[in-house]
């Protein structure tokens, strides 16, 4: 255990070292002005300043709040809808084309309408994250429900397990590992759209930090924001991953 952790730590440190080196090399070779491509040192200073002043924690807090609100709303509604649609052949056959056409549309294309219906501030970010997370969860849930092992359904018939027991005793748990997989995908896509979501009328959050710093040509803060988004995204991903592994172990 100890040694696996050390091994990982060494890898991560090597990764960081390589990244910093490449970055600095690009600056030296390309001879880019500091204003257009800040050096690692400058970005480091930026990060320290953000942390020291505590500003970053506010941004992170707001972003996480928006993210989880949108994400959880998406997960709940998509799973619920998916369970129903996965079991009703005909309705899904009609819903499917709608979903398929709406899915490839970037959430940012919807902003005029999001502002119209949901206003400004927290809501556009939440709605955009919702949209981004909704479709992967819906589609995996429907697929999971459709793919529930025939044996379980036959078993339920045989034991005369009827709805609603059938749903929560058999179908939901049987589909759950696949659904969790969908949750995993959704956390990634949702987080990616955080920046886009916080472009519309937000006055705080990591996405706002990036946009605002970009306007002020503080590219060091842009990169600092990117780093925070990356690391937080990684942590979110890892936690779902642990959850997924745990579910996998439970279901074996």
């Amino acid at each position: 255990m100890q040694s696996r952790f050390t091994y990982k730590l060494i890898n991560v440190l090597t990764a960081i070292a390589i990244l910093l080196l490449v970055w600095q090399l690009i600056i030296w070779i390309g001879n880019y002005p500091e204003a257009l491509l800040p050096s690692p040192l400058k970005v480091g200073e930026g990060i320290v300043e953000l942390v020291r002043s505590g500003v970053i924690f506010e941004h992170i807090q707001v972003s996480l709040f928006r993210f989880f609100t949108g994400y959880l709303a998406a997960v709940c509604s998509a799973v619920l809808l998916g369970l129903i649609l996965g079991r009703t052949q005909r309705i899904w056959a009609i819903t499917d084309p709608i979903v398929q056409v709406l899915r490839p549309v970037a959430p940012i294309a919807w902003t005029p309408f999001i502002v119209l219906w949901f206003g400004i501030g927290d809501m556009p970010a939440i709605v955009i994250i919702f949209i981004a997370a909704f479709f992967p969860v819906l589609l995996t849930t429907v697929a999971a429900v459709k793919r529930v092992d025939e044996t379980y359904l036959k078993l339920a018939q045989n034991l005369e397990i009827k709805q609603p027991q059938l749903m929560y005793k058999i179908i939901l748990p049987a589909a759950f590992p696949t659904i969790v997989n969908g949750l995993h995908i959704a956390i990634g896509t949702g987080w990616i759209f955080l920046v886009a979501g916080e472009m519309v009328g937000a006055q705080s959050g990591l996405g706002y930090l990036i946009i605002d710093s970009r306007n002020a040509l503080d590219l060091d803060l842009v990169l600092a924001g990117i780093i925070f988004i990356g690391v937080l995204g990684l942590l979110l991903d890892k936690s779902v991953h642990l959850f997924e592994a745990w579910v996998g172990r439970q279901w074996s």
């Binding site: 002005p33 204003a35 257009l36 005029p112 502002v115 519309v200 009328g201 605002d212 040509l217 503080d218």
Partner: protein, 291 residues
């Protein structure tokens, strides 16, 4: 002296404030050595500034504050002329009758680094309020009329034609014109990269000369000019007419006293720490040469 230049890439946003640019393109698109103006349309200021800062375009009609910020950060830009004079209306929802009515509501500007921010602050001053009394949001200009219509904001100040659009869509009215809040305000400016001015002085000169003439043409409202406007902006006649009534393109020189008022305001509002000096940033010689 660098080699010949075949295209002059100038960035803009489809707003009335950029009118002299597209009038110039329409009236006289080619200059010395066959250099052609290529107008590059952007979706928002942020991308336009990225392109300008990295030298992917040679110049742009841009919010002067953004260009100042870039200059402050070490990008060698020169503001050579204004985009327009006046023409930023403070639009409020119909039920707002005075500045005091804005208390506790949301007000929108496109950007902290914009004259609209300063105008908004000055408007609040008129009602003895500060930004602490309202909820200020930055939002993309095209979203503002609908946000006003649905009551999410009670006022906005932004580049034209979005103000006029708000008014003509019957969801807003004008509370103040910019000259009532800030006489001789500076807003959008024609900014060129200094390397263009240094390496292709003749081209730059011809371009600015054409720009000045185009500005004069843009101001005259007759059918032909309205066609040009409508080629670059998608607005109704009504909104265009309203918009052009508020704005003028005659006197495009950036005057030192106006610039100093701007820097003073920006400093006051913490928008900048070390604004570029007039002499470093503004280059009126090209415009004067055109006289």
């Amino acid at each position: 002296q660098a080699g010949e230049k075949s295209t002059l890439k100038i960035g803009y946003l489809p707003i009335t404030h950029a009118a002299p640019l597209y009038f110039e393109k329409e009236l006289n698109g080619t200059y010395a050595g066959g250099a052609e103006i290529e107008l590059v349309k952007f979706g928002s200021w942020i991308e336009l500034m990225d392109a300008l800062n990295t030298g992917r375009i040679d110049g742009a009609s841009v919010l002067v504050e953004l260009a100042m910020k870039a200059k402050e950060k070490g990008i060698d830009l020169k503001a050579v002329a204004l985009g327009h004079k006046d023409g930023n209306a403070a639009v409020v929802s119909p039920e707002v009758d005075s500045v005091e009515d804005l208390k506790g509501t949301s007000v929108a500007i496109p950007h902290t680094l914009s004259s609209h921010n300063i105008l908004m602050k000055r408007m609040l001053d008129k009602g003895d309020m500060t930004y602490d009394d309202v909820h200020m949001v930055e939002m993309p200009p095209p979203e503002m009329p609908s946000a006003l219509a649905t009551g999410q904001i009670s006022s906005y100040i932004v580049a034209e034609p979005f103000g006029a659009l708000g008014v003509t869509m019957d969801h807003g009215k004008v509370l103040y014109q910019s000259e009532e809040l800030w006489p001789h305000s500076l807003c959008c400016a024609l900014v060129l990269r200094n390397d263009l001015i240094q390496n292709h002085p003749d081209l730059a000169q011809e371009f600015v000369t054409g720009y000045k003439e185009a500005g004069e043409a843009a101001g005259h409202s007759h059918e032909e000019s309205s066609d040009i406007h409508k080629k670059y902006l998608n607005v109704t006649d009504e909104a265009l007419e309203l918009s052009l009534g508020w704005i003028s393109y005659d006197e495009l020189k950036i005057r030192k006293e106006d610039y100093n008022v701007l820097t003073e305001n920006m400093r006051e509002m913490d928008l900048t720490e070390d604004p570029p000096a007039y002499e470093d940033f503004v280059d009126t010689s090209l415009l004067e040469e055109a006289q």
